[in-house]
Subunit: 191 residues, 2 copies
DNA sequence: TAGGGCACTTAACCTAGATTAAGAAATAAC
DNA sequence: GTTATTTCTTAATCTAGGTTAAGTGCCCTA
Protein backbone atom coordinates (compact mmCIF):
# COMPACT_ATOMS: atom_id res chain seq x y z
CA UNK A 1 0.00 0.00 0.00
CA UNK A 2 1.23 3.51 -0.78
CA UNK A 3 2.80 5.55 2.00
CA UNK A 4 0.04 8.13 1.86
CA UNK A 5 -2.71 5.55 2.41
CA UNK A 6 -0.75 4.04 5.30
CA UNK A 7 -0.53 7.53 6.69
CA UNK A 8 -4.28 7.98 6.48
CA UNK A 9 -4.97 4.52 7.86
CA UNK A 10 -3.22 5.48 11.09
CA UNK A 11 -6.09 7.82 11.89
CA UNK A 12 -9.20 6.84 9.94
CA UNK A 13 -10.44 3.76 8.06
CA UNK A 14 -11.17 4.17 4.35
CA UNK A 15 -12.97 1.59 2.22
CA UNK A 16 -11.19 0.34 -0.88
CA UNK A 17 -13.45 2.53 -3.02
CA UNK A 18 -12.61 5.56 -0.92
CA UNK A 19 -8.92 4.78 -1.18
CA UNK A 20 -9.20 4.66 -4.95
CA UNK A 21 -11.14 7.89 -5.02
CA UNK A 22 -8.48 9.51 -2.87
CA UNK A 23 -5.66 8.28 -5.08
CA UNK A 24 -7.49 9.55 -8.16
CA UNK A 25 -7.39 13.05 -6.69
CA UNK A 26 -3.66 13.24 -6.14
CA UNK A 27 -0.86 13.55 -8.67
CA UNK A 28 2.44 11.83 -8.03
CA UNK A 29 5.50 13.52 -9.51
CA UNK A 30 9.24 13.37 -9.24
CA UNK A 31 11.19 16.54 -8.56
CA UNK A 32 14.90 17.15 -8.66
CA UNK A 33 16.83 18.69 -5.81
CA UNK A 34 16.87 22.51 -5.90
CA UNK A 35 13.45 22.72 -7.53
CA UNK A 36 11.45 25.54 -6.03
CA UNK A 37 7.86 24.31 -5.82
CA UNK A 38 6.48 27.55 -4.42
CA UNK A 39 7.86 31.09 -4.46
CA UNK A 40 7.12 33.81 -1.97
CA UNK A 41 4.33 35.97 -3.36
CA UNK A 42 2.58 33.09 -5.09
CA UNK A 43 -0.68 31.49 -4.06
CA UNK A 44 -0.09 27.98 -2.74
CA UNK A 45 -2.24 25.58 -4.74
CA UNK A 46 -1.08 22.24 -3.35
CA UNK A 47 -0.41 20.33 -0.19
CA UNK A 48 2.68 18.21 -0.78
CA UNK A 49 2.99 14.75 0.73
CA UNK A 50 6.53 13.39 0.70
CA UNK A 51 6.94 9.80 -0.53
CA UNK A 52 10.70 10.16 -0.63
CA UNK A 53 13.29 12.91 -0.54
CA UNK A 54 13.51 16.03 1.60
CA UNK A 55 11.84 19.44 1.29
CA UNK A 56 11.89 22.61 3.30
CA UNK A 57 9.72 25.68 3.63
CA UNK A 58 11.32 29.02 4.44
CA UNK A 59 10.87 32.74 4.08
CA UNK A 60 13.35 35.47 3.24
CA UNK A 61 13.59 38.52 5.41
CA UNK A 62 14.28 41.90 3.82
CA UNK A 63 15.54 40.00 0.77
CA UNK A 64 18.54 38.79 2.76
CA UNK A 65 18.11 36.35 5.58
CA UNK A 66 16.43 32.97 5.14
CA UNK A 67 14.44 31.43 7.97
CA UNK A 68 13.52 27.77 7.76
CA UNK A 69 9.98 27.11 8.93
CA UNK A 70 9.88 23.36 8.35
CA UNK A 71 11.66 20.38 6.95
CA UNK A 72 9.65 17.52 5.49
CA UNK A 73 10.92 14.04 4.75
CA UNK A 74 9.13 10.80 3.82
CA UNK A 75 5.70 10.56 5.43
CA UNK A 76 5.33 14.30 6.09
CA UNK A 77 3.06 16.91 4.54
CA UNK A 78 4.30 20.36 3.68
CA UNK A 79 2.72 23.50 2.25
CA UNK A 80 2.09 27.16 2.96
CA UNK A 81 -0.83 26.79 5.30
CA UNK A 82 -1.66 30.50 5.34
CA UNK A 83 -1.77 30.73 1.58
CA UNK A 84 -3.60 27.42 1.23
CA UNK A 85 -6.36 28.53 3.57
CA UNK A 86 -6.79 32.06 2.32
CA UNK A 87 -5.77 31.46 -1.31
CA UNK A 88 -3.89 34.73 -1.03
CA UNK A 89 -0.19 35.14 -1.88
CA UNK A 90 1.99 33.79 0.91
CA UNK A 91 5.53 34.62 1.92
CA UNK A 92 6.99 31.13 1.95
CA UNK A 93 9.24 29.31 -0.44
CA UNK A 94 9.07 25.53 -0.72
CA UNK A 95 12.21 23.90 -2.02
CA UNK A 96 13.30 20.35 -2.79
CA UNK A 97 16.53 19.66 -0.90
CA UNK A 98 16.97 16.07 -2.01
CA UNK A 99 15.40 14.47 -5.12
CA UNK A 100 11.84 13.75 -4.14
CA UNK A 101 8.74 11.86 -5.11
CA UNK A 102 5.72 13.86 -4.01
CA UNK A 103 1.99 13.36 -3.92
CA UNK A 104 0.30 16.65 -4.80
CA UNK A 105 -3.15 17.35 -3.45
CA UNK A 106 -4.65 20.51 -4.90
CA UNK A 107 -6.77 22.79 -2.77
CA UNK A 108 -9.77 22.14 -5.07
CA UNK A 109 -9.40 18.37 -4.91
CA UNK A 110 -9.01 18.57 -1.18
CA UNK A 111 -12.33 20.41 -0.92
CA UNK A 112 -13.94 17.87 -3.25
CA UNK A 113 -12.60 15.05 -1.10
CA UNK A 114 -14.01 16.69 2.02
CA UNK A 115 -17.50 16.55 0.53
CA UNK A 116 -17.13 13.06 -0.95
CA UNK A 117 -15.33 11.49 2.02
CA UNK A 118 -16.28 13.54 5.08
CA UNK A 119 -14.08 11.31 7.23
CA UNK A 120 -11.14 13.12 5.69
CA UNK A 121 -12.12 16.20 7.65
CA UNK A 122 -11.24 14.14 10.68
CA UNK A 123 -7.96 13.00 9.20
CA UNK A 124 -6.80 16.49 8.35
CA UNK A 125 -8.08 17.82 11.65
CA UNK A 126 -5.89 15.35 13.50
CA UNK A 127 -2.95 16.10 11.24
CA UNK A 128 -3.32 19.83 11.85
CA UNK A 129 -3.70 19.33 15.59
CA UNK A 130 -0.45 17.40 15.65
CA UNK A 131 1.33 20.11 13.69
CA UNK A 132 0.00 22.70 16.09
CA UNK A 133 1.32 20.79 19.09
CA UNK A 134 4.76 20.46 17.51
CA UNK A 135 4.74 24.14 16.62
CA UNK A 136 3.72 25.25 20.07
CA UNK A 137 6.49 23.20 21.61
CA UNK A 138 9.01 24.69 19.22
CA UNK A 139 7.78 28.17 20.06
CA UNK A 140 8.16 27.54 23.78
CA UNK A 141 11.60 26.04 23.17
CA UNK A 142 12.65 29.17 21.33
CA UNK A 143 11.49 31.26 24.27
CA UNK A 144 13.09 29.19 26.99
CA UNK A 145 16.02 27.11 25.73
CA UNK A 146 19.55 28.07 24.71
CA UNK A 147 20.72 27.51 21.15
CA UNK A 148 22.65 24.47 22.31
CA UNK A 149 19.60 22.91 23.93
CA UNK A 150 17.53 23.58 20.83
CA UNK A 151 20.19 21.90 18.74
CA UNK A 152 20.20 18.83 21.02
CA UNK A 153 16.44 18.60 20.70
CA UNK A 154 16.70 18.92 16.95
CA UNK A 155 19.25 16.10 16.84
CA UNK A 156 17.10 13.71 18.82
CA UNK A 157 13.98 14.66 16.89
CA UNK A 158 15.39 14.62 13.36
CA UNK A 159 18.51 12.43 13.55
CA UNK A 160 18.41 11.58 9.85
CA UNK A 161 18.31 15.19 8.70
CA UNK A 162 21.62 16.16 10.29
CA UNK A 163 23.66 14.26 7.75
CA UNK A 164 21.52 15.28 4.82
CA UNK A 165 20.75 18.98 4.92
CA UNK A 166 23.31 21.82 4.82
CA UNK A 167 24.09 22.84 8.35
CA UNK A 168 23.36 26.49 7.69
CA UNK A 169 19.75 25.42 7.23
CA UNK A 170 19.73 23.61 10.53
CA UNK A 171 21.20 26.76 12.05
CA UNK A 172 18.37 28.74 10.51
CA UNK A 173 15.76 26.27 11.79
CA UNK A 174 16.96 26.48 15.37
CA UNK A 175 17.34 30.24 15.06
CA UNK A 176 21.04 31.08 15.00
CA UNK A 177 23.51 32.30 12.38
CA UNK A 178 25.65 29.77 10.49
CA UNK A 179 28.77 31.26 12.10
CA UNK A 180 27.48 30.82 15.61
CA UNK A 181 26.24 27.36 14.77
CA UNK A 182 29.70 26.36 13.60
CA UNK A 183 31.30 27.74 16.76
CA UNK A 184 28.76 25.98 18.93
CA UNK A 185 29.27 22.70 17.10
CA UNK A 186 33.02 22.69 17.59
CA UNK A 187 32.53 23.65 21.23
CA UNK A 188 30.29 20.60 21.67
CA UNK A 189 32.76 18.32 19.88
CA UNK A 190 35.72 19.46 21.99
CA UNK A 191 34.36 18.14 25.26
CA UNK B 1 -27.62 33.78 19.94
CA UNK B 2 -24.76 32.76 22.18
CA UNK B 3 -21.25 33.80 21.25
CA UNK B 4 -20.15 30.21 20.80
CA UNK B 5 -22.90 29.47 18.25
CA UNK B 6 -22.06 32.67 16.36
CA UNK B 7 -18.49 31.45 16.36
CA UNK B 8 -19.48 28.14 14.84
CA UNK B 9 -21.85 29.77 12.35
CA UNK B 10 -18.91 31.63 10.83
CA UNK B 11 -17.61 28.34 9.47
CA UNK B 12 -20.40 25.76 9.29
CA UNK B 13 -24.21 25.78 9.34
CA UNK B 14 -25.92 23.90 12.16
CA UNK B 15 -29.65 23.14 12.30
CA UNK B 16 -31.54 24.31 15.35
CA UNK B 17 -31.57 20.75 16.66
CA UNK B 18 -27.83 20.49 16.22
CA UNK B 19 -27.33 23.79 17.99
CA UNK B 20 -29.35 22.53 20.91
CA UNK B 21 -27.42 19.29 20.99
CA UNK B 22 -24.19 21.24 20.98
CA UNK B 23 -25.29 23.50 23.81
CA UNK B 24 -26.37 20.48 25.83
CA UNK B 25 -22.80 19.20 25.70
CA UNK B 26 -21.11 22.29 27.11
CA UNK B 27 -21.13 23.65 30.62
CA UNK B 28 -21.11 27.38 31.19
CA UNK B 29 -19.43 28.55 34.38
CA UNK B 30 -18.17 31.73 35.93
CA UNK B 31 -14.61 31.87 37.24
CA UNK B 32 -12.92 34.55 39.30
CA UNK B 33 -9.65 36.16 38.32
CA UNK B 34 -6.61 34.23 39.56
CA UNK B 35 -8.37 30.87 39.31
CA UNK B 36 -6.05 28.23 37.91
CA UNK B 37 -8.14 26.02 35.65
CA UNK B 38 -5.32 23.65 34.78
CA UNK B 39 -2.02 22.94 36.50
CA UNK B 40 1.13 21.69 34.87
CA UNK B 41 1.28 17.91 35.31
CA UNK B 42 -2.47 17.46 35.06
CA UNK B 43 -4.38 15.95 32.17
CA UNK B 44 -6.38 18.62 30.33
CA UNK B 45 -10.01 17.52 30.24
CA UNK B 46 -11.64 20.57 28.67
CA UNK B 47 -11.43 23.01 25.84
CA UNK B 48 -12.38 26.42 27.17
CA UNK B 49 -14.35 28.88 25.08
CA UNK B 50 -14.27 32.43 26.43
CA UNK B 51 -17.61 34.24 26.58
CA UNK B 52 -16.11 37.07 28.59
CA UNK B 53 -12.97 37.79 30.57
CA UNK B 54 -9.35 36.98 29.84
CA UNK B 55 -7.30 33.79 30.28
CA UNK B 56 -3.75 32.81 29.57
CA UNK B 57 -1.83 29.57 29.15
CA UNK B 58 1.80 29.38 30.23
CA UNK B 59 4.47 27.00 31.40
CA UNK B 60 7.09 27.36 34.09
CA UNK B 61 10.69 26.61 33.28
CA UNK B 62 12.90 24.98 35.91
CA UNK B 63 10.30 26.08 38.47
CA UNK B 64 11.31 29.68 37.94
CA UNK B 65 10.54 31.44 34.69
CA UNK B 66 7.03 31.69 33.26
CA UNK B 67 6.49 31.70 29.52
CA UNK B 68 3.11 32.77 28.18
CA UNK B 69 1.95 30.59 25.30
CA UNK B 70 -1.40 32.27 24.65
CA UNK B 71 -3.87 34.82 25.79
CA UNK B 72 -7.56 34.23 25.19
CA UNK B 73 -10.30 36.83 25.37
CA UNK B 74 -13.98 36.77 24.35
CA UNK B 75 -14.55 34.59 21.29
CA UNK B 76 -11.34 32.57 21.68
CA UNK B 77 -10.74 28.95 22.62
CA UNK B 78 -7.96 27.92 24.95
CA UNK B 79 -6.64 24.62 26.26
CA UNK B 80 -3.55 22.46 26.45
CA UNK B 81 -3.71 20.96 22.98
CA UNK B 82 -0.97 18.43 23.64
CA UNK B 83 -2.64 17.11 26.76
CA UNK B 84 -6.10 17.23 25.20
CA UNK B 85 -5.00 15.11 22.25
CA UNK B 86 -2.89 12.58 24.10
CA UNK B 87 -4.78 12.67 27.41
CA UNK B 88 -1.38 12.59 29.05
CA UNK B 89 -0.21 15.12 31.66
CA UNK B 90 0.79 18.38 30.02
CA UNK B 91 3.14 21.13 31.16
CA UNK B 92 0.82 24.09 30.78
CA UNK B 93 -1.05 26.13 33.33
CA UNK B 94 -4.28 27.85 32.36
CA UNK B 95 -5.17 30.85 34.47
CA UNK B 96 -8.04 33.32 34.61
CA UNK B 97 -6.60 36.84 34.41
CA UNK B 98 -9.90 38.71 34.49
CA UNK B 99 -13.23 37.36 35.82
CA UNK B 100 -14.52 35.13 33.08
CA UNK B 101 -17.57 33.31 31.83
CA UNK B 102 -16.43 30.17 30.06
CA UNK B 103 -18.06 27.41 28.02
CA UNK B 104 -16.41 24.12 28.91
CA UNK B 105 -16.33 21.37 26.32
CA UNK B 106 -15.00 18.11 27.72
CA UNK B 107 -12.84 15.86 25.60
CA UNK B 108 -15.48 13.09 25.85
CA UNK B 109 -18.32 15.36 24.81
CA UNK B 110 -16.23 16.67 21.96
CA UNK B 111 -15.75 13.12 20.70
CA UNK B 112 -19.47 12.45 21.09
CA UNK B 113 -20.26 15.60 19.14
CA UNK B 114 -17.89 14.52 16.37
CA UNK B 115 -19.91 11.35 15.88
CA UNK B 116 -23.32 12.99 16.26
CA UNK B 117 -22.53 16.12 14.22
CA UNK B 118 -19.74 15.19 11.82
CA UNK B 119 -19.75 18.74 10.45
CA UNK B 120 -18.04 19.74 13.70
CA UNK B 121 -14.93 17.94 12.50
CA UNK B 122 -14.83 20.58 9.82
CA UNK B 123 -15.36 23.40 12.28
CA UNK B 124 -12.57 22.30 14.59
CA UNK B 125 -10.31 21.54 11.64
CA UNK B 126 -10.69 25.11 10.44
CA UNK B 127 -10.19 26.43 13.95
CA UNK B 128 -7.00 24.43 14.35
CA UNK B 129 -5.73 25.46 10.94
CA UNK B 130 -6.16 29.09 11.90
CA UNK B 131 -4.32 28.57 15.17
CA UNK B 132 -1.52 26.87 13.30
CA UNK B 133 -1.17 29.79 10.91
CA UNK B 134 -1.04 32.27 13.78
CA UNK B 135 1.51 30.11 15.58
CA UNK B 136 3.73 29.74 12.57
CA UNK B 137 3.75 33.46 12.03
CA UNK B 138 4.65 34.04 15.66
CA UNK B 139 7.46 31.50 15.38
CA UNK B 140 8.87 33.22 12.31
CA UNK B 141 8.53 36.58 14.05
CA UNK B 142 10.53 35.29 16.97
CA UNK B 143 13.23 34.14 14.59
CA UNK B 144 13.41 37.30 12.52
CA UNK B 145 12.13 40.36 14.36
CA UNK B 146 13.60 42.41 17.18
CA UNK B 147 11.82 42.61 20.53
CA UNK B 148 10.59 46.06 19.60
CA UNK B 149 9.09 44.87 16.34
CA UNK B 150 7.41 41.96 18.10
CA UNK B 151 5.96 44.37 20.62
CA UNK B 152 4.59 46.61 17.86
CA UNK B 153 2.97 43.59 16.21
CA UNK B 154 1.50 42.56 19.55
CA UNK B 155 0.05 46.03 20.04
CA UNK B 156 -1.65 46.12 16.67
CA UNK B 157 -2.90 42.55 17.01
CA UNK B 158 -4.15 42.66 20.60
CA UNK B 159 -4.77 46.36 21.33
CA UNK B 160 -7.28 45.65 24.08
CA UNK B 161 -4.97 43.37 26.03
CA UNK B 162 -2.29 46.00 26.60
CA UNK B 163 -4.37 47.90 29.14
CA UNK B 164 -5.68 44.79 30.82
CA UNK B 165 -2.92 42.29 31.44
CA UNK B 166 0.18 42.89 33.60
CA UNK B 167 2.98 44.03 31.35
CA UNK B 168 5.36 41.36 32.62
CA UNK B 169 3.05 38.86 30.94
CA UNK B 170 3.19 40.72 27.66
CA UNK B 171 6.97 40.74 28.05
CA UNK B 172 6.87 36.99 28.53
CA UNK B 173 4.61 36.52 25.49
CA UNK B 174 6.92 38.43 23.19
CA UNK B 175 9.93 36.72 24.73
CA UNK B 176 11.83 39.26 26.82
CA UNK B 177 12.37 39.86 30.53
CA UNK B 178 10.16 42.33 32.40
CA UNK B 179 13.21 44.54 33.00
CA UNK B 180 14.11 44.73 29.37
CA UNK B 181 10.49 45.29 28.43
CA UNK B 182 10.31 48.24 30.79
CA UNK B 183 13.52 49.71 29.36
CA UNK B 184 12.26 49.20 25.81
CA UNK B 185 8.91 50.80 26.60
CA UNK B 186 10.42 53.97 28.01
CA UNK B 187 12.80 54.14 25.04
CA UNK B 188 9.78 54.03 22.72
CA UNK B 189 7.93 56.68 24.72
CA UNK B 190 10.87 59.08 24.73
CA UNK B 191 10.93 59.62 21.01
C1' DT C 1 -3.39 52.75 58.62
C1' DA C 2 -0.09 50.04 58.49
C1' DG C 3 2.50 47.08 56.17
C1' DG C 4 3.41 42.99 53.19
C1' DG C 5 3.56 41.80 49.00
C1' DC C 6 3.38 42.48 43.76
C1' DA C 7 4.25 45.12 39.55
C1' DC C 8 7.07 48.34 37.60
C1' DT C 9 11.35 51.22 36.96
C1' DT C 10 16.18 52.40 36.69
C1' DA C 11 20.91 51.54 36.31
C1' DA C 12 25.35 49.04 36.30
C1' DC C 13 27.26 45.22 34.54
C1' DC C 14 27.34 40.79 31.88
C1' DT C 15 26.86 37.28 28.06
C1' DA C 16 24.79 34.62 24.28
C1' DG C 17 24.69 35.19 20.02
C1' DA C 18 25.26 38.65 15.82
C1' DT C 19 28.26 40.83 12.59
C1' DT C 20 32.19 41.35 9.74
C1' DA C 21 35.79 39.56 7.42
C1' DA C 22 38.95 36.36 5.51
C1' DG C 23 40.56 31.78 4.59
C1' DA C 24 39.74 26.63 3.90
C1' DA C 25 37.03 22.90 2.19
C1' DA C 26 33.70 21.00 -0.40
C1' DT C 27 30.39 21.02 -4.63
C1' DA C 28 29.09 22.21 -8.75
C1' DA C 29 29.91 23.96 -13.44
C1' DC C 30 32.33 24.13 -17.56
C1' DG D 1 40.70 18.90 -14.57
C1' DT D 2 40.26 23.53 -13.61
C1' DT D 3 37.54 27.26 -12.18
C1' DA D 4 33.67 29.21 -9.88
C1' DT D 5 30.35 29.05 -6.18
C1' DT D 6 28.72 27.74 -2.22
C1' DT D 7 29.43 25.96 2.47
C1' DC D 8 31.98 25.80 6.57
C1' DT D 9 35.38 27.50 9.93
C1' DT D 10 37.85 30.72 12.81
C1' DA D 11 38.57 34.88 15.08
C1' DA D 12 37.94 39.72 16.43
C1' DT D 13 34.61 42.86 17.66
C1' DC D 14 29.97 44.41 18.79
C1' DT D 15 25.13 44.59 20.69
C1' DA D 16 20.44 43.20 21.97
C1' DG D 17 18.83 41.64 25.60
C1' DG D 18 19.76 39.20 30.32
C1' DT D 19 21.05 39.51 35.24
C1' DT D 20 21.43 41.52 39.57
C1' DA D 21 20.11 44.69 42.69
C1' DA D 22 17.96 48.57 44.81
C1' DG D 23 14.19 51.63 44.93
C1' DT D 24 9.25 53.35 43.99
C1' DG D 25 4.43 53.09 43.83
C1' DC D 26 0.26 50.48 44.63
C1' DC D 27 -3.05 47.46 45.75
C1' DC D 28 -4.47 44.43 49.02
C1' DT D 29 -5.94 42.65 53.42
C1' DA D 30 -5.90 43.12 58.51
Amino acid sequence: MSLILQNIAKHIALTTAEQELFLSKIEVHHFDAKTILLHSGEVCKYSYFVNSGILRSFNINDNIVEHVLNFACAGYWIGDMYSLITQKPGNLFIEVLEDAELALLSKENQEILYTEIPKLERFFRILTENSLVVNQERLMDNLSLSAEERFEKFCSKYPTLIQKVPQKQIASYIGVTPEFFSKMKSKILHR
